[in-house]
């Protein structure tokens, strides 16, 4: 049906593609290439766009910068703290919401609310929840006889507070994905398993979980990438600072500080590429594991 491409047809195709290519090229591809090059500028005139020397100095700087190390460590703790708990919790909630319970659609809506609400608005609420003296969280802990925690002002507790907030924020989206995944598993498998005398626990681990694996896999990739890119939650929760004593400084926050506050564009670009490399490698590893598991 399609003719062999010739000069005329190719030119025509380009004309059709041009608007999208123009936008993508200007705002996505050009910045990617330019920031990659920028990360190697070691001596340059920013005002006249003149580069005098290229090199690895920016990367070497990151290697030695304790702030960057802190950001890296905080981000790792954040990802490890948020992703597994968020996945487990949202899967659990999805399993409960999947069953015909009273007020099911009400709960489905409630759990999805954090996803559609603005981070800034939600952070205002959470700042009150985390408030050392009047916060709901400390009030609850107080009932259990636990001393109030200075969630947002104590450097030891800033990151856990951020993790709590991020888990809550991520639940809705993951629950929706899991609900969709669950509805793709035909009911007859569960009926068959019941007749095979499998109890609920066995049914979950032998039937639901393996059949839900493609969804879980997708959710984990999206969650890990999302967690590595965490920024607005930090900015909003700590009122435009990376937490007390930079205790909640994350990679993207570090990039933000370097780029906007210190105007060290080259170092910011280098840090962005380090972040890219980490998420890229992790995704490749995950794909590799995932393919091994789903292979028929």
């Amino acid at each position: 049906m399609p003719d062999k491409p010739n000069l005329r047809s190719t030119a025509k195709a380009f004309v059709y593609l041009a608007p999208a290519l123009l936008v993508l090229g200007t705002f996505t591809i050009y910045p990617i290439v330019e920031s990659f090059l920028l990360s190697f500028y070691t001596d340059y005139d920013y005002f006249h766009d003149r580069v005098y020397r290229l090199g690895f100095d920016n990367y070497l700087y990151l290697l030695k910068d304790p702030e960057f190390h802190l950001a890296l460590r905080n981000t790792a703790v954040f990802v490890i703290g948020v992703v597994p708990i968020s996945i487990a919790l949202s899967l659990g909630i999805a399993l409960m919401l999947y069953r015909p319970i009273p007020l099911r659609s009400f709960f489905r809506t409630v759990y999805f609310l954090p996803t559609v609400t603005s981070v800034v608005a939600v952070a205002v609420v959470w700042r009150w929840i985390f408030h050392s003296d009047y916060g709901l969280l400390n009030f609850g802990l107080g009932l259990l006889g636990i001393q109030p925690v200075r969630w947002l002002t104590d450097p030891r507790w800033a990151l856990p507070a951020l993790i709590l907030f991020a888990i809550w924020k991520s639940l809705g989206y993951n629950i929706v994905l899991f609900l969709a995944g669950l509805s793709n598993i035909p009911e007859t498998y569960h009926l068959a398993a019941r007749l095979d005398r499998a109890g609920p626990w066995r049914r979950f681990w032998s039937i639901t979980f393996p059949l839900l694996w493609p969804t879980t896999f997708f959710v984990s990739i999206v969650s890990i990438i999302g967690a590595f890119k965490v920024f607005d939650e930090v900015y909003a929760l700590f009122g435009g600072s990376p937490g007390p004593l930079s205790s909640a400084l994350t990679l993207v926050y570090y990039i933000f500080v370097k780029f906007y506050r210190e105007q060290d564009y080259a170092v910011a670009s280098a840090a962005a590429y380090v972040l890219f490399l980490i998420t890229f490698l992790l995704t490749v590893i995950q794909l590799w594991i995932g393919r091994k598991r789903t292979a028929v």
Binding site: Y189, L191, A193, R194, L195, D196, R197
Partner: protein
């Protein structure tokens, strides 16, 4: 295991899927639940499995009421219509799953799976996943999985509907072989009369949630208790003609006054002029060439004159559509003797081959022997 259903009913909201069903399934029997779609046969099967809870009535397994026993503890093997093989497990793991649940040791498990695989003849396919198996092979795996835990009752939901015609014939024999080999009480659901007739010891024919008749396949065919049974079974379908009882109460007259035959003997006496519906199977007509003297009304050995309108050969037999004074009738004749369209013919029928039904209730006017399970077929009518 002996299964008893007593006044079994299942309502979904306003819809009554199963309505006061009574039936007994003897130990070791192979029973078909037959009926048009929506007649409640699958619901009945799911009630037996325990996947639904009846809204009224009782189910007894070997005398014990099992209404409140969950499916996990009913000792039932079930093969679903789409087989429901776990897609992420190999055939071996699928069959082994019920044993694994029961925590049977690995070696013993392996032995039992292999034994089942031999029975259903899939030894060489055990390492494959369901997606790599054909429909027939998947079904064999599903049957093996259902039987490996040695259940007391085997349930099959439309076992042959997902297979192509040739495979269907093969699996029909296979299911018979496997089930009789294991000697297990089996209930299967089908909407296909041929499948039910060829496979079952007894057929429970249902309509709109109610039992219409439950008997051996040949009894159902030869002695339908209801007009619905006569119409549902048999291919090509039975001819139904309106008639009335003639003067003296001995003879049947077709509409228009043509005498048909004497009334059969096993019938309550009917007053003259009683309207009845006469059912005649296409193979019960005898064809004679026209020209033979038409009927001797006094002897009431009527001959129906007609003309062949359509002729359809299926091989050994040919189906004719004959236009008569009582309307068009289907007649089955040996292909060699089947006349061509346009030929004038005369049809006769034996009184014993007639089925008579009440024009309103549809119930048979002939006496229906209460068939015992596995009772001999209708010898009288052979």
């Amino acid at each position: 295991m002996r299964v008893e259903l007593e006044g079994l009913s299942m309502r979904f909201g306003d819809v009554t899927a199963v309505d006061r069903l009574d039936a007994v399934i003897e130990s070791g029997e192979l029973v078909a639940l037959l009926g048009p779609s929506g007649c409640g046969k699958t619901t009945t099967l799911f009630l037996l499995a325990g996947l639904y809870r009846p809204t009224a009535g009782v189910i007894r397994f070997d005398g014990a009421v099992v209404n409140d026993v969950p499916p996990e503890r009913r000792e039932i093997g079930m093969v679903f219509q789409n087989y429901a093989l776990y897609p992420h497990m190999t055939a071996f793991d699928n069959i082994a799953f019920p044993l694994k649940v029961q925590k049977i040791p690995k070696n013993r498990r392996r032995e039992m799976v292999l034994e089942m695989a031999r029975l259903v003849r899939i030894e060489s396919l055990l390492e494959r996943k369901p997606a790599q198996l054909s429909g027939g092979q998947q079904q064999r795996v599903a049957i093996a999985r259902a039987l490996v835990k040695r259940p007391k009752l085997l349930l099959l939901d439309e076992p042959l509907s997902n297979l192509d015609a040739r495979l269907r014939l093969e699996m029909r024999e296979e299911i018979r072989r496997i089930v009789s080999n294991v000697g297990i009480t089996t209930v299967f659901v089908t909407h296909d009369q041929e499948e039910a007739m060829s496979l079952a010891d007894r057929i429970l024919l249902m309509r709109e949630g109610r039992k219409v008749q439950c008997d051996a396949p040949d009894m159902l065919y030869l002695r339908p208790a209801h007009r619905f049974v006569a119409e549902f079974l048999g291919n090509p379908p039975i001819n139904l003609l309106s008639a009335r009882v003639g003067a003296g109460g001995r003879c049947l007259l077709l509409n228009g006054g043509t005498p048909l035959t004497d009334l059969p003997e096993d019938i309550e006496p009917l007053p003259p002029e009683t309207p009845v519906v006469v059912g005649i199977r296409p193979e019960d007509f005898r064809l004679e060439a026209a020209g033979v003297a038409l009927g001797d009304p006094s002897a009431c050995r009527g001959k129906i004159a007609g003309r062949v309108a359509v002729r359809e050969t299926t091989g050994r037999e040919t189906l004719l559509r004959v236009e008569t004074c009582a309307g068009a009738v289907r007649v089955l004749a040996p292909t060699g003797k089947a006349p061509h369209p346009g030929t004038a013919v005369v049809l006769t029928v034996e009184p014993s081959a007639l089925h008579l039904f009440h024009p309103e209730t549809g119930e048979s006017l002939r006496k229906i022997p209460q068939g015992l399970p596995k009772a001999a077929s209708g010898v009288q009518l052979a």
